[in-house]
Amino acid sequence: MNMSVISVKGLSKYYQVHQKEPGLAGSIKSLFNRKYYDVKAVDNVSFEINEGELVGFIGPNGAGKTTTLKTLSGLLYPTKGEVSVLGHTPWKREPAFQKQFALVMGQKNQLWWDLPAMESFILNREIYEVPKARFEETLSELSDLLEVQDLLKVQVRKLSLGERMKMELIAALIHSPKVLFLDEPTIGLDVVAQKKMRDFIKAYNIKYKATIILTSHYMDDVKELCKRIIIIDKGTKLFDGDLDEIVRKFADHKLLSMVLDKELNRRQIEHLSALGGVKEYAYPKLILQVPRENSNKVAAKLLQSYPVADLNIEESALEDIVREVFTGKDVA
């Protein structure tokens, strides 16, 4: 039997937020009589995650993703519910628990600016009480993976943004945590750095069999890394399952992506709408959205009667699918 590493049952986190009427009169009134209303940041969320899984949490801003991660990290006490990570209750903040996980939040820095990154690693080694041999090994593995072996003794402020980001990662992982909570790991990075970050996360997951939860706005992060996703919106869990499943269930459309070798005349353009929805037409590119069942038939028709040089049948963009989930289509 596979014991779950992360177990969440009925997690809820409510906040009381002070409500103020607009304007000066409202401000004065609120000095005397404060009205509060409840915000349900997280409402009755449950899930189990097993060792080695790489799970994506997706949802719009304010959905409750970060609040959930913070609760799993022990930063917040829940209003209701039970949480267990590696057999510990996170908010007790037991050192034995803290030594086994890492929370990495977007672009927050913890390295000392004026000193070589190595000094920060040594500090973390001491904080996490990592045995010397393991420290050397992890340092060497991580710096190889990230290709920064020669930069360890260089002052952090002399490094480029990308190099600094890699050092931050090493500092955060020098204690070889088994559980990683990554909050928006690729935010603010350029395309190349994003890809490198994703490759690293994948490699870390495989090499250390680490259990990873990642939150992101970027569908590419999720598409590339996560087999399983959990969709959260307005504090509730909307979907929990394989990425493929959500694509199949919700995407009742497929995309026909074409390269044309001749511009279309007006009659042809008008006829297109009979075949499906035109998602994009910018010669020579044409993307048509058609119902799943018809995709092969329509594709054949297009190849026959239209100047199509190349045609691909693709799933709907994940972004569109997820947007449909958020706008309340049936989760059944």
């Binding site: 970060t66 913070k70 990290s73 000392w112 004026d114 000193l115």
Partner: protein, 263 residues
């Protein structure tokens, strides 16, 4: 305990490295410090050109007080100012989260994570000079035990100053972003330039027993002058550790109620 000593030595070493990177900064800091001290000395001299004593303190005794003030200030500020100043912003911006997930006491970490300000060494050295001069001019005989006791009283004064400042900064949890909270504390601290004897009755008792600012500089000086009641001396030392404990309780209590700023 040993682990925290190790950790502290790492922070200390890193502060040293950083200071050596910024050598000129250290030299420049010595200038305003010396100037400020000279101004204080001039003010005292001026006052004493008109009168002979203030609340039972003569000129040389006040110089001795000023010297002790600089010693306490130099140690206390040097060790902690870079850290205390940032607590308010760590709390209000949610940066505290990075500290709380680590297996290290958060009060300890937040108090030493930023480098030691070695510029304050100038203050400390000037203070030591002034005290040494004062002890010789006033013909005070000190044996080894008394010197050690003086050092201990100074250290508990530093502990007390740290604890009071830390408690003040912990209020950030309750009242949010407060500009100048930490400047207010510094202004308050400057009361120590004057012997607590200048206050009467109720105010004096507040400053000695309740909010023991008065203890920090006046007591060690009185000890050198042989005028410190032994019971008060014990209060001086105890209050340092007592308030440290209170700061620890208050910090933990505030953390419990803390919900981090949302992203």
């Amino acid at each position: 305990m040993k682990r925290y000593l190790n950790l502290y030595s790492i922070f200390f070493k890193n502060s040293l490295i950083r200071m050596m990177e910024n050598r000129f900064d250290f030299l420049f800091r010595a200038i305003p410090t010396t100037l400020s001290l000279c101004i204080n000395l001039l003010v005292i001299s001026f006052i004493f050109s008109k009168i002979n004593a203030v609340s039972g303190w003569n000129k040389e005794e006040l110089f001795l007080l000023l010297g002790t003030y600089n010693i306490v200030w130099g140690i206390f500020f040097g060790l902690f100012i870079q850290n205390m100043a940032k607590i308010n912003s760590y709390i209000s911006r949610g940066d505290l989260d990075l500290f709380l997930t680590k297996p290290i006491n958060s009060q300890f970490y937040i108090s030493i994570v930023n480098p030691i300000d070695f510029g304050e060494a100038a203050t400390l050295i000037l203070g030591l000079i002034l005290v040494t001069r004062g002890v010789s001019i006033l013909n005070i005989d000190l044996n080894l035990i008394q010197v050690v006791t003086y050092v201990m009283i100074i250290l508990s004064a530093v502990t007390l100053a740290y604890s009071l400042w830390f408690i003040t900064m912990t209020f950030s949890f309750w009242i949010g972003r407060v500009y100048g909270l930490h400047e207010a504390f510094i202004s308050f601290f400057e009361i120590n330039k004057y012997p607590s004897d200048i206050f009467n009755g109720l105010i004096k008792n507040v400053f000695v027993y309740f909010l023991p600012l008065g203890v920090m500089v006046t007591f060690p000086t009185k000890f050198l002058l042989g005028k410190l009641d032994p019971i008060l001396m014990i209060w001086g030392i105890v209050s340092g550790f007592g308030f440290l404990y209170i700061s620890h309780l208050f910090w933990n209590f505030s953390l419990e109620r803390y919900s981090s700023a949302s992203s």
